[in-house]
Structure formats: C-alpha cells, structure tokens
C-alpha cells in the first residue's frame, strides 16, 4: 500500500492530493446491493462471479414450517387404569393413554365404567430364573451332605432364585439361622444343659461364597447326571457338567488371594515392576542384537563352497538353480526307493512341499516352492536341460564349451567391461587394511599385480582365489581372538586354582568356556532360552507377580464384561484367563475320552 508513497518520498515528490486521491480510491466501495441467490449454496453462488446469470436459478421456498395437518377430531388422552399380569395382587395403577377411538363417545362421561387394561406391555420383563429342583427321595439318596442340612440347602436354593444367581449378593445376604431345636424335656433342670439346648444345635456356619458355590454346583451336577445320563449329554451339556464337577473352592480361594495380593501391591512394587519390565525388554533387545551379530559371523565362517554337493548346508540352496537340482535329485531318489519297496507306503513322502517346507519360514518356502514348480513346468533351465533335453538345438558338450570358450549367463549386465578392471576390483576389500592384507597374501603366492591375459576363466579362478584368501584372513582373525580368550581363561583358571585348590569344578569351567568359544550356536541358544533369567535373578517375587497379573486381568475382565456370567457356574481353573482356551481344553479332553 505504502509503496507508492515510499517511492514518491524517495524521489522527492510531494505527498500531494494525488496520493490522497488514490488512497480514497483504494478504499473498497460499499458493496452494491447484490441480489442474493436463494436455494443455491453460497459457494456455488460465488462461482457466478460479478455478473449473475441472465436467468436466476432459485427455487421458491418458504422458511415456515408446513402447517400441521390435522384430520378429524382431537384425540383426547385419558388416565387409563391398568393391571399388571406380572403381579398377583391385581394392583391397579393409572397411566396416560390416548383415548381409544373405537369406543362409543361417552354420553354422560363419568358414569361409564373405565375398562381396566390388563394387557401390560412391560409384564414380559418378569423373567424368573430356573433353579434345579429335587424330591425328598432324591435328596436322601444322592444329595445328602455332612456339612449341609436339608433346610439350609433349601434356603440356599431359595436365595439363588431370589437373587438371580448373583453370587456376591447371595453371599452378602446369606444369613442362615438353623431352626431352634425343640427343647428336650430334661428333668434334671441342669442350667448347663439348658444353656446348651437354648443354643441352636450347631451354630450357623460362616459360609463363604466359594462354599455356597461348591454346594450348589455339587447339587446341580448330581441332578444333571441323574436327569441326563452322561453318555447322552450333548457337547454343551457335557461342558457344563464338566465345569460343575471341576469346581474347586480351594483353587478359587487361592486365585482370589492371588488377585487380592496383586491388587494391593504398594506403589513401590508397581513402580518396581514397571521398571523391571522395561529392563527386561532392554535386555531382550540387547540379546537379540548380540544373537544376530553372532549369526552373521557364523554365516561368514561357514559359508559353503559355491556349487558344492547337497549336504553342504541349506545356505547352498539359495539360487533357484541349486534348488531345482535338489528337487530333481530327491525326486529321483524317491522314485527309485518306491520301486524298491514295492507296495509299502513310502517312508519319505516327497512332494516339493515337504522338501522345502522344512527350512526357513513357511512363507519363504512356499514362495520358493511355487517359483520352483512353475519353473519346472515352463522354463527348464540348465540343470533340467541336461536331464531332459527338449529343444532340438544343438547342445555343446562341456569339452566343446571349454574349447569354444562358450559361457552361459543368468543375466548379463549391459555395456562393456574390461577383465582387468574386474580383477582389480576383486583385490579391493572394504577396508584399507584388508586390501593390504589381501595384497600381501597374493604377493606371497607369487601372483603379479597385473595379470597379462585376463580371460573370463582367469577371472573366475582369480575370484575363487580371492574368496579363499578372504576366508583365510577371517579365520586367522577369529583364531587370534580365540587364542586371546583362551589365554584369559587359562589365566583365570590358574588364579582360581591358586585361590582354592580344593573345590572348583575346573573341568566344567573349561568345557563351558570351550562351548562358548567353539559353538556360537549353543551360546545363542542359551541367550534366547534364558532371556527371562536376568529379571528372574533380580527378583523372583516380582516375576511371579507379573505372571499373576496376566491371570487376574483376564479373570476380572471376563467377569466385568459379562455380568450374566454370575448366572453361569464358572470353572474352577485358576488360569481361566480366557473362556476360549478353556473350552478348547475341555473339548480336547472330551475327545480323548
């Protein structure tokens, strides 16, 4: 805005009326009373630009609500008396209802008796639970218990029905008072006897929720077995029966104690557990890193000879050609075996799946497998070619190939490269030191810096040689390291022997150290297997806690999620973390039976 004024200022021109005028002009003009489009979104209207279209597009719309349509007479409301079929006493309450239009218009209003509506829509929520019932004979025969009287059992069942299987509430309200025994007519009038007899025969027992459940489940299970023989039970019934019979109050109590202990951990323990868990994770990560480093080293040491025989190791099957050869070979073996064993089942089933299914991850093998079989069908390559020549093209024998210096390539890089360049590149390692070492080794072997005729075959041989040199250097390095370690251990052993010659499982220690030095695999296994040990060592107690947490969590979660669970007898398993696993265990059990 001010730029023009600045320029004027700089040029020494006066800030005259000219500038004033422009300033006035720049002020936005009061917006012309533009016609607003109706029925078109503001954004769309903006698209019309300054000039509205010749034909205005808008629909006539009233903003008032449409007038209420009412047909016929006003339907009055009445206070409709109703009775509830869920009640037995015929209580009549009133609620407001539309006056039924079918009724003849009341002539004298008050005198017509109002009809009591007895079809109450909410009565259907009067749902009662089912509680097992039994006859006196059944009770005498099967259900008697040392600990429970018949009266108390009935009381328990009443409570269950009254409180809809809500065990915590049943246990809360459970208050069994044994009926007072009829006073024995004792002539002696001994006060002691009287005092005793005034007491109920057995003082009411303090029943815990587990005791109540145990008794009820026992009764239910026995009655269930009576009603449905075990063999005829369906899977669901059997599962329930199984749960009922397996309820153990002691495990349940134990589980609850564990849960309480877990819930009432002090702040310090919670924090400590968190800390330990973090620590454990850190240790695991370190262990994993160490393992992967070890594996890498091992692979480098054990790298198989290229194109050696099958037994060399799985790493040799990394190229599809090698895999193809392997499949072919095994297939051949299998066939010959089959022929030899005749009709007997093949000892070694041999589909391509099985061969490749063993090493590595399933996904990897599946991919390889499909690739391999696809190739076998469509693209017979060198190895397959030798076995089943399909093409009528004249093939060269190896001797001929050698002679004509024909070479086959999987893939050719575009462009021209010099053999000498290739050879030079091979001499170079990643690090300078390594390069120097390779050069020294080659010099020792008497190989000139410049090879006069670098044919491809020479290149190949040289490559192999350099590879060997590299491996040699690696081995040398490892040897030095091992020797150093041996020396240290040796020293340690010596010192230990000096300190306490009597005890000290020296042999063990040596074998240990050897183990460690020679077999990195074993070491790695120990690392993986013992991942929990650092934490466990630090504090065994907390470890148990952590375990318990998972357990209790699962428990309480299932409980809170399904309040109706209270109605279903829970299993007595301590570790009933998930219902799913439980049922699967049961079903497997059943299958075994």
């Amino acid at each position: 805005m001010a730029s023009s004024r600045d320029v004027r200022d700089m040029l020494g021109l006066g800030v005259g009326g000219d500038a004033q005028k422009t300033a006035v002009q720049k002020r936005p003009k009061p917006a012309a009373p533009t016609r607003k489009f109706q029925g078109v979104a503001r954004e769309v209207a903006a698209l019309y630009g300054e000039r509205p279209p010749p034909v205005a597009v808008y629909e006539e719309k009233k903003s008032y609500r449409a007038k209420r349509q009412h047909a016929g007479l006003v339907r009055p409301w009445i206070q409709q008396p109703f009775s509830n079929p869920a009640r037995s006493d015929g209580l009549i309450l009133k609620h407001w209802r539309r006056k039924p239009t079918t009724q003849p218009a009341p002539t004298s209003g008050d005198d017509t008796p109002v009809v009591v509506d007895s079809n109450y829509e909410f009565a259907k929520y009067n749902v009662q639970v089912e509680v097992p019932t039994f006859t006196d004979n059944e009770y005498e025969a099967y259900l008697r218990s040392e600990d429970w009287s018949r009266e108390e059992t009935d009381y328990l069942l009443d409570m269950i029905k009254e409180y809809y299987y809500r065990w915590p509430i049943i246990a809360d309200r459970y208050d069994w008072q044994p009926p007072p025994k009829p006073e024995p007519t004792d002539e002696n009038g001994d006060t002691n006897v009287h005092a005793l007899s005034a007491l109920p025969f057995a003082p009411p027992k303090d029943r815990s929720i587990e005791d109540l459940k145990a008794r009820f489940y026992e009764i239910s299970a026995k009655l269930m077995k009576l009603r449905i023989p075990q063999e005829e039970m369906g899977a669901a019934e059997y599962a329930r029966y199984d749960i009922l019979t397996n309820f153990s109050p002691t495990t349940e109590r134990h589980r609850k104690n564990l849960a309480i202990a877990l819930m009432s951990r002090p702040m310090d323990e919670v924090k400590e557990e968190e800390f330990l868990l973090a620590e454990l994770q850190r240790i695991n990560m370190a262990a994993n890193r160490l393992d992967s480093e070890r594996i890498e080293l091992r692979e480098r040491l054990d790298a198989p000879m290229p194109n050696t025989q099958v037994a060399a190791g799985l790493t040799s099957f990394q190229s599809s050609q090698a895999l193809q050869a392997l499949i072919q070979q095994l297939y051949q073996q299998d066939r010959s075996k089959k022929r030899a064993s005749g009709s007997g089942p093949p000892r070694l089933s041999l589909s391509a799946n099985d061969i490749i299914g063993t090493p590595g991850s399933a996904q990897h093998s599946a991919a390889l497998n499909s690739a391999a079989s696809a190739r076998r069908q469509t693209l017979p390559n060198a190895a397959a070619n030798q076995a089943t020549p399909q093409t009528p093209i004249r093939t060269l024998t190896p001797a001929q190939e050698h002679r004509f210096n024909v070479s086959t390539h999987d893939r050719l890089t575009s462009g021209v490269t010099f053999g000498s360049d290739k050879l030079l590149k091979m001499r170079q390692a990643k690090s300078n030191v390594q390069t120097q070492k390779i050069a020294a080794a080659l010099a020792q072997l008497g190989i000139q810096e410049l090879i006069s005729i670098p044919t491809s075959r020479v290149g190949e041989v040289f490559e192999r040689l350099v590879g060997k040199v590299g491996r040699l250097l690696d081995v040398r390095k490892v040897r030095e390291k091992e020797e150093g370690e041996c020396r240290v251990l040796e020293e340690m052993r010596r010192r230990k022997a000096e300190q306490g010659s009597a005890e000290g499982p020296k042999k063990n220690e040596i074998s240990d150290s050897q183990d460690q030095s020679t077999d990195p695999n074993a070491n790695m296994n120990a690392g993986v297997g013992g991942e929990g040990t650092p934490a466990g060592d630090a504090d065994g107690e907390v470890d148990i806690d952590a375990e318990g947490e998972v357990d209790a969590d699962g428990e309480t979660d299932t409980r809170t999620q399904t309040p109706s669970e209270a109605a279903m007898p829970p299993a007595g398993h301590k570790r009933s973390a998930s219902v799913l696993s439980q049922t699967s265990i049961q079903s497997s059990k059943r299958a075994r039976r």
Partner: protein, 466 residues
C-alpha cells in the same frame, strides 16, 4: 406373549418408561426432596428442620423454608433425624415429609365439583360419598410412593416407613429403595461404589446390579455438619475471635476494613428466638462460607495431604469473606484446613466438646474398608465405577482430592471417579435415581400394594425391598 431372552437388550422403543404419577420422596438430614417420578429435578425441596412454637395451649409446629427462618419469639428448631443418620422422631418426620409432598405436589385436595354437593339441584344425596371423602383426605391416596432410605437403615425404621406411607398417607403402592443404589442409577450405572457426602453422614456403598452389598456399607459422621463445626472451631480459636453473627441479628451494617470490628446495628428482641434457631441461622452463614471460601487441599502427587506441604499453601492467595454484620477478612491457609479433617483425622480442629475423629472415620479409610469387604472379583469393577454425590461433595476441589486418595490407596488398579458437574445432579442424585426407577414400566411389578400390605403386614418391606 413371548418370554424375552433375559440377557438380550430390549429394543430402543421399549426403553421408554411408563409414568404412573408416582411420587418420589428422598428425605435427608438437611433437606427433604420430593417430586413426581419422571421429572428431572425434585419440585419440592424443603428443609428437614422444623420449628416448635410454644403458643400457650401446647406446642405449635411450623414447617418449610419461610416459617423456620422467621425469628419468632421462643422459636426452637428441631430435626427428626438422629446424628447417626436414622430417623429418631417419627411423629415429626412424617409431618415434615408430608409437608414436602403436600406443599408443592398434591396440594390440599379440592373435592370433585360434581360430587361436592354444591352443584346438585337438591340436597338429597349429600352424604353418599362420605367414605370416599375420608379416603381423599389422605394426602397420597392416588399416587404410588417411592421412598429412599440410607443403606444402614434398621429393619424397624423400614417398617415404620411403610407404616407411615400406608396408614397415614394412604398410598396405593409403596417401595423403599436405598440412596446408594439410586445415586448409582442417576449416574447411569447399575454397579459401582457410591461415595455420598451429605450433611450429617458420609457413606460409602458398594452397589452390585442394583443391589447394595450390605456388608460393605460404611458410614461416618465426617460430612457437611462436621465441616461446619470445624469452621466454628476455627472462628473461635483464631486470635482475635471471629464473630459469627447470623443475618437475622443485623438491622444495618457499615463497611469496615478487613479484620476491624464490625459496625452494625443489631436487632433487639423482647423475647429472642431460641438458641437452636440461632444455630440454624449460623449454619446458613457457614454453608455460604463453605461454598465460597473453603477449598480442599490438593498437594503434588504422592503428597496430597495438607500436613505434607503446609508451607506451599501459605504462599497461595487467600479469599475474602464478609460476615452479615460487615466484619470481613481474607482467609489464607485456614480455608484449606477447614475440611482437611475429612481426609486426615490428625488435621481436625478439636476442643472439649469436639474430640478428634477416629482415623477410620475418614473418607479414605471408609473407601478402603468398603472395598476390602467386597469379594475380590468385584473390586476392580467397583474401583472403575466410583460415583460421588451429596451436597458436601460440592466442596471446592474435593473430587480431585478423592481421586488422589483413591489412587494412593489402590495404586495398581484403574480407578475412575464419576462426579457429575451439575450441582443439581450432585445434590439430588438419589432423588433423580428414584425418579428414573419409579417411571420405568418394568418397575411397576415391584410395588408393594396396599392389598399386599394389609395381607402381610409391615414386614413385607423386608421381603420385597431388598
């Protein structure tokens, strides 16, 4: 009619209630709440205090906000509730409650114009409806009544409730529900741990599926009245003493500096109202003080107690308060100390009449006791649904402190506090829960009808209202 699956939820249209013009009555120590079921606030909130006037020919009783705050000569103020949260004076209680219902809800019943005889051409059938008329005199003759009771109510008291409702008020149907359960309902929960900090009682009630776990109910007297008494002690023990003059004593006042003695014209009475009247009026001033000045101390995590960081409280700005007579001052740390006794017995102010409360009466200990008396499987669920209600839970920042105390008690579980922000929902939670319950269609099968009462007598209440 098909029996629905009990675990399947009813479809949305069936959630709807069914109102039968029931009345919900929620009597408390400080106020009695009454209103029609289905409404969202009680229409009638009257003080539970009542006045007794000695009018020569025996005592005269007055009820209601207007009457009890009128400084009449010799007016004594009483309360039907005992200090341990159970009704003591049934006669008076029934009158106060009846006043709560009739003053705003049912009103004095006009007789039916068709039947009152005034419109009859001749006076022949004047005495036809005499029994009906008598029945109509009872205040509740056509409204079912849902009453609330504290979780620790005695069996005798419960029988008294139904007796009053049936015999005195003539209600056609009655039900008695616990305040804890109803407060949980008002919060939209069927299960939870309800912390109710009222006027005379603080209670902690575990509720499971709409039923109270009786063994877990905890109560103590550290509530609103306790905080008021703490304030009185603070005023008395401060140097110089802080004068507590209720409004009715003051005719006019002039502004004075902070801490300066009041310059007011005090009202003179030939025969002043009784001491209990003055106490009630003082209580009003104290409630005002509690609302505007008192704050619950919240220290940094792990040291939420006031005693743990008293010094940092000193640096906080105070709050001014002016007494009705013009005396005024800025209150600094005192405002944090006034209610600290609810949480920390050692921090309570004491004198000869007011001994130190026991540690197990404090709110954290109540919560702990309530939780530990509940079965292990229910604890995490309860701790996850903690409902805070009661008028004194409106003390500034009390919910923060409750949260801190609960987290300190149960560090390893997830504890969740539900404290509605609306004042009405906090104060009248039990009534609102009752309003919801009594307007549910499926509830109407639970009423105790007059017929059942006549058949089984008062102890039917024990059987039905579980």
């Amino acid at each position: 009619m098909s029996t629905p699956n009990p675990s399947a939820a009813p479809n949305p249209s069936e959630y709807a209630g069914d109102e039968v013009s029931a009345i919900v009555l929620d009597p408390g120590y400080s106020t009695t709440r009454a209103g029609f079921a289905g409404e969202d606030v009680p229409k009638s909130v009257v003080p539970s205090f009542y006045g007794v006037l000695d009018s020569g020919s025996g005592p005269r009783y007055v009820y209601g906000e207007n009457a009890i705050h009128n400084p009449l000569a010799g007016l004594e103020i009483k309360n039907p509730w005992s200090s341990d949260g159970i009704v003591e004076d049934w006669e008076a209680a029934s009158k106060v409650w009846e006043y709560a219902i009739t003053s705003r809800l049912t009103g004095a019943k006009p007789t039916d114009p068709r039947k009152n005889g005034l419109n009859d051409p001749s006076g022949e059938d004047m005495d036809v409806d005499m029994e009906g008329l008598e029945d109509n005199e009872k205040p509740l003759s056509d409204s079912p009544l849902l009453m609330t009771e504290p979780g620790w109510n005695s069996a005798k008291a419960r029988e008294k409730y139904i007796e009053i409702a049936m015999e005195e008020w003539g209600t056609p149907a009655f039900y008695l529900a616990k305040t804890g359960v109803l407060a949980a309902f008002a919060a939209g929960k069927a299960s939870g741990l309800v912390i109710d900090i009222g006027a005379s009682m603080t209670s902690v009630t575990p509720v499971l599926d709409g039923m109270v776990l009786k063994k877990g109910v905890q109560k103590s007297s550290l509530a609103g009245n306790f905080v008021s008494n703490q304030l009185r002690l603070i005023f008395e023990q401060s140097q110089p003493k802080i004068p507590l003059t209720p409004h009715y004593m003051v005719t006019s006042k002039t502004a004075v500096d902070a801490g300066a003695p009041a310059q007011a014209v005090y009202r003179q009475f030939a025969t002043p109202p009784g001491d209990s009247f003055r106490r009630l009026e003082e209580e009003r001033v104290l409630t005002e003080f509690k609302e505007s000045v008192v704050e619950i101390w919240n220290g940094p995590p792990g040291q939420h107690r006031f005693s743990q960081n008293e010094d940092s409280a000193r640096s906080l700005p105070g709050r001014p308060f002016e007494m009705p007579d013009g005396w005024n001052q800025v209150f600094g740390v005192e405002r944090f100390k006034a209610a600290e006794g609810l949480f920390d017995a050692a921090a309570a102010f004491t004198d000869e009449q007011h001994p130190r409360p026991k540690e197990e009466q404090t709110i954290p200990k109540l919560i702990q006791a309530a939780i530990s008396s509940v079965d292990a499987d229910q604890r995490t669920m309860l701790q996850n649904h903690i409902v805070v209600t009661g008028g004194s839970s409106l003390l500034y920042k009390i919910t923060d402190r409750l949260g801190a105390e609960i987290n300190a008690l149960f560090p390893s579980t997830r504890n969740k506090l539900h404290a509605p922000g609306q004042v009405v929902e906090r104060k009248y939670a039990a009534w609102i829960g009752g309003s919801i319950l009594a307007s549910l269609g499926s509830f109407h099968q639970l009423w105790i009808s007059k017929k059942e009462y006549e058949e089984h007598g008062v102890n039917i209440v024990e059987k039905r209202c579980k």
